[in-house]
Every structure is written in C-alpha cells, then in structure tokens.
Amino acid sequence: MAFLDEIQRARREKGPREKLGRMARWEARWGYAFIALWMVGFSLWYLIPMAASLVFSLFDFELTNLSAARFVGLGNWRRLLFEDPLVWQSLRVTFTFALISLPVGMVSAFFLAVLLNSKQLIAANVFRTLFYAPAMVPAVAGVLIWSGVLDPTTGWINRLIAFVFQVDAVGPNGIRWLADPVLVYVAYTLIGLWGIGNAILYNLASLQGVPTELYEAADIDGASWWRKLTAITVPMVSPVIFYNLVLGVIGLLQFFVTPYVLTGGSGFPQGQTYYYMIHFFKQAFGFLNMGYGATIAWFMFLIALGITVLLFGTAKYWVYYAAERR
C-alpha cells in the first residue's frame, strides 16, 4: 500500500529548486547512472509503446503483412464506442463481477486478518501459513481444482451443501455453479478467494501496527467489540483497504486466466463470463485485428485511469493517514 501513499504525498509536496554545486552535480550524475537502466526500460516498454499503441489504433493491419496496413482514422474508435455490442457487454460483465467479488474478497481478507491477529488464537503462525498457502498455487492449477470441486455431480461443494442443509444439490440438475448466469459470479468469487493471501497479510501487518493504547482507552470506555472495530480498527487499516481496492479494480480489468481456462473465452453461460480482457485477447490474438486490439487496450487504459483518479479523489474523505508523517 505504501507506494500509493507516496503518490498521495508527492501531490502535496513540492521540493525546493536549488542550483547544483559541484558535489551535487557529482551526486546527480551517479544518481542518473544508477537509475539509467530503469529510464531506458521505461522508454522502451512503457513510453514508446503507449504512444505507438495510440497510433496503432488508427490502423487496420496484420503483423505478417504490414505493407497492407490501412489507415482507418477513428474507425476503430467508432467501432468500439458505437458498433461493437461486445465491448459494452464485456464492460458490464467486468464491473458486475467487480461489484460482487471485490467487496467479498476485501471483507473476507479483513475478517480473516482480524481472526488471525486475535490473541486468543492458538498456533497463530501455523494458521497464517496455511491460509496463505493457496495463494502459492499456480493460477491455472487453482482454477482447475475449483472447477472440479464446483462440479455439480462429482464436486464436494454440492455434496457438502446437500449434507449440511439436507437439500437436493447434487447431480446435473443440482446447483450448477459454473453454468448458472447468476451463480457463476459467486463461483468466480469463490475461486478468487484463493488469491486473497496477500490481502490477508497486508491487513494483518496493518492491524499489528495499530497502537494498543487506542484499544486500552476504548476498553476503559466499555466500548463493544463492534464499536472498537468500526471506530478504531477500520479507520486505522483504511490505507490497506484503499490499496486493495485500487489494485483490485485494476486487476479485475485484466481478469483473464479464470474465464479463459474455464470457458476458452466463450462467455459461458450466456456471455456472463465474457470479460473485457477476453474481448481484447480474442480481437487482438484470436481474430488478429491488431489495430482494433490496440484500441480496446487504450480504452482499458482510459477506464483504469478514470477509476484511479476517482478513487484517489475520494480517498481524502475516508482513508486515514497517520497524521502526515513529517
């Protein structure tokens, strides 16, 4: 989360300009020398490609036959904004899923961290390790495991539900996690829960940083557990929540492995898993419309930028920064 604070801080401070002395020039030269590697990399892998991507979006071309590239002006952009229903469908899918999966993931990570931070918990370190372990499972393997455990007939989830609630959940007509247009979001959210290991640990680190005096003072007041949670804990870890939120939204715009492994990008069921990134992949690398692919990617960048600016704008109303650290 800390690097987001840096951005926040930089917005507030402007360093003084001074003329450089001999020593300072020496230092500056060495500084540039050390960061030169990154500056080259930044130009090569970010600056130039970003600009090129924008230029590409004005063309219709195939890589193997560049001489046949055709300038289409804003044609790709017009197609994206007005003529391609799949763009808006995939954005709806992406944001619907984000609205379900992000809160669930963030709240789960937070409460797991609270539990793992509990002084009453025996063998807390063992638990922490085990809760983190699924985050180490390679994504493709994780998705395949979940697709098995969610199988309506042979998976364990339906069997467990049938056993606990004594309902008829098993079988091809049981609970069809990956085939029901609504439940599929629940299923994908569940799969996503195996990826919250980092979020749990960030929350945990942040919880351990909350000064104990605050709780002691609240205890003296006779504050309830819930009151302490909402009045002390949540505000104190709000930077982590902010961090998880920003990275979560950006990450979901790029959500790809789970739907691609499960459906091959078919959007099953009913186009409900046709995510924005799937559309990008299909157009650019499936149908080889590279120019249109670049357009889709640039639009993704604009959306990500918009959301980030929006989130940073709201941050000052709800993210607590420990009293300006200097």
Partner: protein
Amino acid sequence: MRKLAALLALLAVLGMATAQTQVRWFVGLGAGTDEPLFVAQRAIVDEFNASQSDVRLVLEIVDNNQAYDVLATQIAAGNAPDIVGPMGIRGGAAFPGVWLDLEPLVESTGYDLSDFDPEMVEFYRTDDGLIGLPFAVFPSYLSYNKALFDEAGLAYPPAAYGEPYVDANGVEHVWDVDKMTELALMLTVDGSGADATEPDFDINNVVQWGFGIMWRDIRGRLSLFGAGNFIDDDGNATMPDHWRTGLSWYQDAMWQQGFYPNGPYGNSALLGDGNWFDSGNLAMAQTQLWYAGCCMFSVAGKNDFDFAAMPSYEGQVTATVNADTFSITRASRNPEAAFAALSFLLSPEVAGRLNALYGGMPARLSLQDAYFDAFEERNFPGRNLNWEVVAAGLSYPDVPNHEAGLPAFREAEDRYNAFTQRLDNEPDFDLATEIDRLVAELQLIFDAARARN
C-alpha cells in the same frame, strides 16, 4: 547458480542438436487430438526421424478447442507450423489464404497423385491452387449400444440403408427421425428406472439417454434434417426452414422429452464429461468414423455395440461427412523439406497406419479394400462390426458440407456457437426471437467482412 549454469549449457546443447532442417507438424484441426492416439503418432514421427538425417519432424498436438486460437497466434507471429493435418473442412475454411499451393511441389518432385480418389483431389483444387493432399474421409452412421436395447427389450435399428425398422413383434416401420425418436424415448431412463414414455418419468433425474450427437456444432447436428448453411446464394445470412424445424426438435428433445442430453447432462460425469456414447449411458449416437478410432474404448470393454443406418427425414437420408487433408502453410520456411515429410506421412504404408489410427477411410484407392479389416483388427478384434453400413453412409453426404466456410469464419462461428450454447443450457430459451437475432448478427459480421475485403 551452478545448477542454473548447467541448465543453460544443456539448453545450448539442445539448440545445437536442432541444426537439421526442422519441420513442424501441427495436429489439432481434425482427428488426432485424443489421448489414445498420442503415443502412436509420436512413434510415426520417431520413425521418420530415424529414417533420414536431413529433416527433423516435430509433432505438436493441440486440443481441437484450443487449436484455432493457437494456430492463429502462430500464424500471426510468423511462427506458422509447416504441416497441418489431418485437417477437417472447417479447419481449412477457418484459415483462408494460409495454405500453400502444392501443385509446383507435386510437379517438381514427380509426386504420383494417381492413387488418390480423383474426386477428392479435385475437392482440394481451389482458387488458391491445390491446397492439400487428400488423406481420409469419415462417413457418419448410427452407433448403438446393444446392451441398452436388450435391457429395454427393443429390436436393433436397421443394419443397412433402405431397410425398414423391424420391431420386436416383427412389424415393419419406416426408419425415419420420428421412429428413431420413439425408440429414443423408450431408451431414456430416470434414476428410478422409469422410461421417458411413462407418466412418472422424472426429466430432472435422467441417467440414460436415447439419442445424441457429440462434438459437432449446430450445423452438423441440424444436418440430421438435411444439409444447409447459414448463408444463402446472395451471401446473406439465413436460417433454412428445415433447420428451423430441426432446432425445435432439438429444443423439445432436450427440455420437454428429455431423450437428448442437454448442456448440464452432457457435460456431467454421467455422460463421460462429454464423451457420451463411451459412458455406456447413451443408446444411440450419430458418430463419424473418427469416433471409432479415438473414443469408444471404454464402452467397447463394457458393452456390446454395433453400427446401423441413419434415419431419413422426409424421405431423405443425410449422413454428414468429414474429410481430412494434409496441407503445408504458405509461411513454411522449408516447403521442400515439409513436402518430403508430407510424402512420408501420406505414403501408402504410413498413411495406411495413420488411417487405421484415426479411423479415416483412406483417400488412397490402393488402401481402401483392406482398410476396415485392419481397422477392426487394431481396435475391436473379433467384434465383426457392421462396416458396410458405415461405408454406405458416403452415398448420403451433406451438400453443402456442415463445415463449409462462411465470411469472417471464426467470428461467425463464435456467434452461432454462443447461440447453441444457450439452446443447450437454457430451458426457456426463446427460440423464435433468438433465431432472428442470430441471423441479424451474422448479417452484421458478413457485411463487415465484405467491407474489409
């Protein structure tokens, strides 16, 4: 670190070893992507590599569902394989303009085409030249599970085209889709043992199904009602009338009567995770010959089965045909070496073995006679299966073929597959509205494709 260095050294050595001309053989757009075939295909590659030292053949098998994306990426990246095959009609149609004209190579090497079925050679002579050498045809036929017919006390379907269906009481009936539907209902059974004709049949608890067609897109499935395509002579999107009838039949079969596996059942363990007939829980399946080569070993071990004639619809039989070819890509860096490897793969001896492997009827005339005996010997020894009816299916081909090309093929295909997916998975799919929508959206895709060219 030392290990890393050793690994790098190893990779370098591997790099040196590939100094021979490398020819990549891509398997994925036709037969050959099923697990039982992998080892045998590798053996043939090893044999070729051992037979000479100039060319190193490298085999690449990609699952049919992923193969189109993978090949597209390879072509886009200028990393196209040299040989693609066996490749179905759909594969060729999906990648127009990608295939090398083999005519010059045939001439310069003096390759003898006279042993190939001339009609099939002509089939691959297009505006782009000779885009492939014929390899095999896969007629379709009705596979039926004798054990399930016995259990229901039903007589088997007709063993030859033109014969009637003779029921258990000796009464003759016309063998058509309606009669087959009747049998299918009686062969559909729920978990408590009631069949689909009984009033207490529970459609939500089916454990055995009457009829199904696996692994074929909707155009192939609809060809049961006669051949057709989504495009008319003027290049406009359309849904032929007999296919509209067919679509309602499928919707009823899956969601009202229950004898055809719908999406949920079809992907479940009850039906072998997609390999329906092999699960032993499907009584009748329309299958192409490749199915016998790849995918029915588990049912063969459990149950007795045989092959029968496809039923007619409005007096006409349509038995869909797949045809596989071997092609060389235009982007191939070594067309001569690729052609040498291709000649090896299609030589009478090796092609014969590949045919036996994939289950394709050989395009080589000299191989056709002995073919079915060898195929049965290899896959189902001692079964005495009805191969006559299989071969006879070739007299009832679907024209136009169900894998024929469409403008912007891959996008159009994506679109109609999405339609099928919903038909198979939604009990209250609004067929009439969705057909209109499908036609309208295909029209948009066709128009866009025309504008691009």
